[in-house]
């Protein structure tokens, strides 16, 4: 009788310990102190370390609020967030991509920050970036950084080996295809870029603007515009690159991963500006052998956008237990002293850009900014002409990404665009999107 009783007690004790371990890991908060939680999507080790340091500094800087910090891997973010929302335990503050802010604001998931952060703190932010976190005239996030979604990085040493001029990156898409053909070997891909509908959906936003001068849905979201014949050139480029084996038949890594270029598995790579951080940190000996350029423009006009300015912002959950304290943290971190923020851009090797004038000026004065040899090119040729990320539902982007993926797989381009157009039309009807755009 004794053994089963002991087992039962042990099981209950174990379950209690397990239950405690599954929680936030936070002990009871200090009396009189408000406790709030920050969920941060896992980025690079340097960024994660910066967030940890920032949270510790915030907790030291005052004695009214205790901020708990949780790092959530990107691939489990959506599931964890949905589970937390369902259980009424969503974090008070969390990192969000700009493109998701208007949707979250529209559905009441996050709350407006204008009433919580004084007006003077919003001064000096770039207008287009600020617009991407607005909904119905209210600001729902405080922009932290911007990073262009598509830059062409290339290996100068492999260019030289293939008899190409290392200082002259491809200026047209035909040139990029020709270069890619010359650079492709059994072990090295000519170029790597997005190859599945999810990555294609967002990484081609800039090229969608470039090819057609608009996105595949009208500005007020009332009509699809994916069937515009101007998009055919975009799909044709991807089809040629894939079908001729210039890009790998199976992705070497996800679009956001810059390692294939550093590892010598590809001669050219389309990736976001964040790739610079990885290349500088992990492949320092190769830095002199890597060049960066804007993606070619379809009509040769280099002033047309080839990328969108993505980036991250901090938002406050609509059900936050202490919205004022949460917004206070956002303001303390992003809208006040610039020292900590400059350190963030320094740690990420100046591969990202600040939308706040005071921070951008401080960065410009920092001699360490010269460490990133591609920053100037990216800023002058990509960021300057880039567009803000679209605010419409992700499903619309996915419909166009699917069309590009179909082209990649050798399907008829006209048919792929027509299908995307029909799908977007259906999404508009089913989700009542008409009239919700700008």
């Amino acid at each position: 009788m004794r053994t089963p009783l002991i087992r039962l007690v042990a099981a209950v004790a174990g379950a209690t310990v397990l239950a405690a371990g599954c929680g936030s890991g936070a002990g009871p908060s200090a009396p009189g102190k408000s406790e709030i939680t920050l969920w941060q999507q896992k980025f690079t080790d340097q960024e994660d370390a910066w967030y940890k340091k920032a949270v510790a500094a915030f907790n030291r800087s005052q004695d009214k609020v205790v901020l708990k910090h949780v790092i959530v891997p990107a691939d489990t973010w959506d599931q964890k967030m949905r589970s937390a929302q369902a259980a009424g335990k969503a974090p008070d503050v969390y990192t969000v991509n700009y493109s998701k802010v208007p949707g979250f604001a529209r559905t009441g998931v996050i709350q407006a920050l204008d009433p919580l952060i004084p007006a003077d703190k919003w001064a000096g932010l770039q207008e287009p970036v600020l617009a991407s976190v607005e909904h119905d005239g209210k600001k729902y996030g405080y922009p932290m950084l911007v990073e262009p979604s598509a830059v062409l990085f290339y290996r100068k040493d492999l260019f030289a080996q293939a008899g190409l001029d290392p200082e002259r990156p491809p200026a047209t898409w035909q040139e990029l295809i020709d270069y890619g053909r010359k650079l492709t070997t059994k072990d090295v891909a000519g170029v790597v870029t997005a190859a599945n509908q999810i990555d294609l959906a967002w990484s081609t936003w800039g090229l969608q603007w470039n090819a057609a001068g608009h996105l595949p849905i009208s500005d007020d979201w009332s009509a699809p515009r994916a069937a515009d014949p101007a998009y055919k050139q975009l799909l044709q480029v991807y089809q040629t690159l894939y079908q001729q084996g210039i890009m790998p038949k199976q992705p070497l890594a996800p679009y956001a991963d810059a390692n294939p270029l550093g590892q010598g598995k590809t001669a050219m790579m389309v990736c976001g500006s964040w790739a610079a951080s990885v290349l500088l940190q992990d492949y320092p000996k190769l830095v002199g052998q890597i060049g960066a350029a804007a993606l070619p423009s379809f009509d040769g006009d280099a002033t047309k956008p080839t990328a969108t300015l993505g980036g991250w912002t901090l938002v406050v959950d609509a059900k936050s237990r202490d919205a004022r304290a949460s917004a206070g943290f956002v303001s303390w971190l992003l809208a006040e002293d610039t020292t900590l923020l400059v350190e963030f851009f320094k740690n990420t090797k100046f591969s990202k850009y600040s939308p706040r004038a005071a921070v951008a000026e401080a960065i410009a004065k920092d001699p360490a900014a010269a460490e990133n040899p591609w920053a100037k090119t990216i800023e002058e040729r990509v960021v300057r002409y880039a567009k803000a990320e679209p605010a419409y539902d992700w499903a619309v982007s996915l419909a166009f990404g699917k069309a590009v993926e179909k082209a990649l797989q050798g399907k008829d381009i006209d048919e792929a665009l027509r299908a995307a157009d029909a799908e977007i039309k259906e999404l508009i009807a089913k989700n009542d999107l008409a009239g919700q755009g700008s």
């Binding site: 998931v109 599945n196 509908q197 999810i198 038949k249």
Partner: protein
């Protein structure tokens, strides 16, 4: 006949004995109560609640708005949902028959070898069952890698050009079916073996005396007596294969061009990215209905009966 008489006698209450059906019922209910309570709390109530909220457009923040059957209509008129279910059925049609056939052959093989050899074979076949789907997905993704993958390296010996197994719409679904078959083979084989060992040897001896060959024995003795085991494997195998999630999620994310987007992955993608939850709940309930219907059809086609010697 003797058996029948005995059963008939047992079924009737003995003369003078007091019938106590009520008490027996009470005991049965008491014994079942914990299970029924758990079933009610964790299965019936969530299911009823899911049905209820599927009639609302609903998020975790905005107040729910009653929309009647709109979520269901949205799902049923969504070509992608219909395609994902059709794809799931095709996937099951590849996985389940292959699993049952391999398990049947393997079980016969184990039955025919020495005891020691049989133990080795049983352990070997069961190993995939204890390997997590995540590990299986990673291992097979490495095998299928286009450049430098084990399979293409092997094919290269025969001068066959590297095939993008997971990057081509034609090969991606069968490529994912292979680890699915591999994972389920162990349990299916052991269940099949247990069924085979239950068949009395005397049946085969009698058949041999009557001049029956191996094929006759298989079709006249083995398969009819294994009918319930095969039915069980078909139903459980079908339900499991239609619900595979981890393999397509990790190996292809449902691509290329949705060619491996199985129903559960489709629902998960909607659940995690849609701004409102009603669609994914309606889709999940419709998938539940599809599973129930196909299981019922299998029951109907392969009728469950008592084995001949029962």
């Amino acid at each position: 006949m003797a058996v029948t008489s005995l059963r008939a006698t047992r079924a009737r209450p003995r003369a003078g004995a007091r019938p106590r059906p009520r008490r027996e019922n009470r005991v049965a209910f008491v014994m079942l109560a914990p299970l029924l309570a758990l079933l009610g709390v964790f299965v019936v109530w969530p299911l009823l609640h899911a049905v209820y909220i599927s009639f609302f457009t609903w998020s975790f923040y905005d107040p729910a708005v009653f929309v009647g059957l709109r979520n269901y209509l949205n799902v049923l008129t969504d070509v992608e949902f219909v395609n994902s279910v059709t794809r799931g059925l095709l996937f099951s049609a590849i996985v389940v028959p292959a699993q049952v056939t391999i398990a049947f052959v393997f079980a016969n093989l184990v039955k025919s070898v020495s005891r020691r050899m049989a133990t080795v074979m049983k352990v070997t076949i069961y190993v995939p069952a204890v390997i997590s789907e995540v590990i299986a997905a990673i291992v097979f993704a490495l095998i299928y890698t286009h450049r430098g993958g084990l399979l293409n390296w092997f094919l290269d010996f025969f001068g066959i050009e590297a095939i993008p197994w997971l990057g081509d719409t034609v090969t991606a679904l069968p490529a994912i079916a292979v680890p699915a078959i591999w994972i389920g083979m162990g349990v299916a084989s052991l269940i099949m073996l247990a069924g085979l060992l239950d068949i009395p040897e005397t049946y085969y001896e009698c058949a041999s005396l009557d001049g029956a060959g191996p094929w006759t024995k298989m079709f006249r003795i083995t398969l009819p007596l294994m009918k319930n085991v095969i039915l069980f494997l078909l139903i459980t195998g079908f339900a499991a294969s239609l619900q595979f999630l981890i393999l397509p999620l990790l190996m292809t994310q449902g691509g290329p061009v949705n060619s491996t987007n199985l129903p559960n992955l489709f629902i998960l993608q909607h659940f995690t990215t849609d701004l409102y939850v009603g669609y994914s709940i309606a889709a999940a309930l419709l998938l539940f209905a599809v599973l129930g219907t196909v299981s019922a059809i299998i029951f109907r086609l392969v009728r469950s009966e008592k084995a001949m010697d029962a």
